[in-house]
Amino acid sequence: MLEIAGLQVAYGAIRAVRDVSLTLAEGELVTLLGANGAGKSSTLMCIAGALPAAAGAIRLEGQDVTAARPEVMARRGVATVPETRDVFPDLTVDENLQLGAYTRRNDTKGVAEDRTRMFGMFPVLAERSSQPAGTLSGGEQQMLVIARAMMSRPRILLLDEPSLGLAPTIVNRIFEMIATLKGSGLTILLVEQNASKALEVADRAYVMRLGKIEAEGTAAEIAAATDLKALYLAG
């Protein structure tokens, strides 16, 4: 469904992503692991269209989308949850969700249904629907950005470090939700530093180091490979 070949991303003279090739099949949950600074987030933001690719190709269902703008990727069914947990702080929770459905804003009935569904899934968001999103706690904001991404009824979800800086119980909740989303047939690319958690839910995994893919395999294979511990912890 999503195919990335020889991708490079550069910030000026610094090449954050040197050579990344990966594939994502329909309904699959693939995790991209690696230490801080390995280039995982840059890879993800480049797929989302928020960073330009210096080289390589990104194909979505066979069509080249390497140079597509972020709004085009969103329209084509790719929803992104960046690691910075970008809620719009001065918009209410409800307005955040409403914007999540921007690409299908004419489908008023469907959007209203999804809103109810999201509030069912995240009762805390329903309680706070008219509060500014900036007043939510970190975990609540993470739930909001995931719910907001789901409002577009995406076909691919790009999740960047959903567990970052959250308390263990909340991390568990978030990973339960990721498993639920996967169960609903959604295709997910999950970037994580929390390798053990990510490998529990993933089908396959790639390990990145210094901008390159160092290893790939099924989640079980990667989890069993003891030498990889050194790889993604050593940075």
Binding site: A50, R75, T80, P89, L91, E95, L99, G100, Y102, T103
Partner: protein, 296 residues
């Protein structure tokens, strides 16, 4: 009591005009993080449209509507000509193109129309005065207050209850994230310029309505007022712009009433001194905008 009423009418009418000017500037600044220095020329464009249509025999309201429409078009043109081609480049580039576009429009007016003031048609009500509760005031002041109330209400409704408005507020805090939700960057920016043009056009009718004539440099003072009002109120906040506009008007009118005759010509020096004091106290402006914000 009647003195107080007189004072309030003066502050509210001047403040209403200032607030609209400031909003028109800050709506673009909030999204692009760039001051549109060609903003004053939108006011000029509306003014000259009034002059050029004055012989047409159309009712004043129709001419005014055409003038506002021209200001909106000029706003969108600013985006296409001065901003869009260099938006991805440096901040300096955009700053210079906006100055260039401003100079270009002013010189076009000098060259093709005249450096001398040109009369614009005014409806009769603009020169009438009304008397009530012991107060005599130009009807124009009451019209300005009413227009400001309507425009601010419309603006607030647009920003809160339409998808476009919510998307614009979102884009003002995090443009990239808004785009990743599918909000097209160009639509948001063009809309900001169009709204800026609408406000400039409406302000132009009120501003030029005071003197009944338009000159090529007519936009300079409103630009300056809008800029100062937004700096006092907080460059990142729409409410701040409105507050700044009214506060600036309050200072101006208070000084008008209190300064002795021979100091009155230095009023702006007093106003600016107060502005400096406010900025020493709150360098970020009275209302701090949303926290984040990167350029696009």
């Amino acid at each position: 009591m009647s003195f107080f009423l007189q004072f309030m009418i003066d502050v509210l009418s001047l403040g209403g005009a200032y607030a609209l000017m400031a909003l028109g500037l800050v709506i673009v600044y909030g999204i692009l993080r760039l001051v549109n220095f060609a903003y004053g020329e939108l006011i000029m464009v509306a003014g000259y449209t009034m002059y050029l249509t004055s012989g047409s025999g159309l009712p004043w309201l129709v001419m005014a509507a055409v003038a506002v429409l021209m200001a909106i078009m000029a706003g969108i043109a600013t985006d296409y000509i001065a901003f869009r081609p260099v938006r991805a480049k440096s901040v300096t580039a955009v700053l210079i193109t906006s100055f260039a576009f401003s100079t270009l429009l002013q010189n076009a007016a000098l060259l093709f129309i005249s450096p001398r003031p040109r009369n614009v048609p005014l409806p009769e009500i603009f020169s009438e005065t009304v008397q009530f509760a012991g107060v005599i005031t130009p009807a124009r002041n009451l019209i300005t207050i009413a227009t400001a109330v309507v425009m601010l209400g419309l603006f607030s409704w647009l920003m809160r209850h339409t998808v476009l408005g919510i998307a614009m507020r979102a884009a003002a805090t995090n443009f990239t994230m808004a785009r990743m939700l599918g909000v097209p960057a160009n639509l948001i920016i063009s809309s900001a310029f169009a709204i800026s043009g609408l406000l400039a056009g409406v302000v132009s009718m009120l501003w030029i309505g005071r003197v009944g004539a338009v000159v090529p440099g007519v936009g300079l003072e409103p630009l300056l007022i809008a800029f100062i009002a937004t700096v006092i109120g907080g460059m990142r906040s729409l409410q701040g712009a409105v507050l700044g506009g009214f506060l600036l008007a309050f200072m101006d009118i208070t000084l008008n009433f209190t300064l002795p005759q021979d100091l009155l010509k230095f009023r702006d020096a007093f106003t600016f001194s107060l502005v400096i004091l406010i900025l020493l106290w709150r360098p970020q402006g009275l209302i701090r905008g949303p926290a984040s914000g990167q350029r696009t």
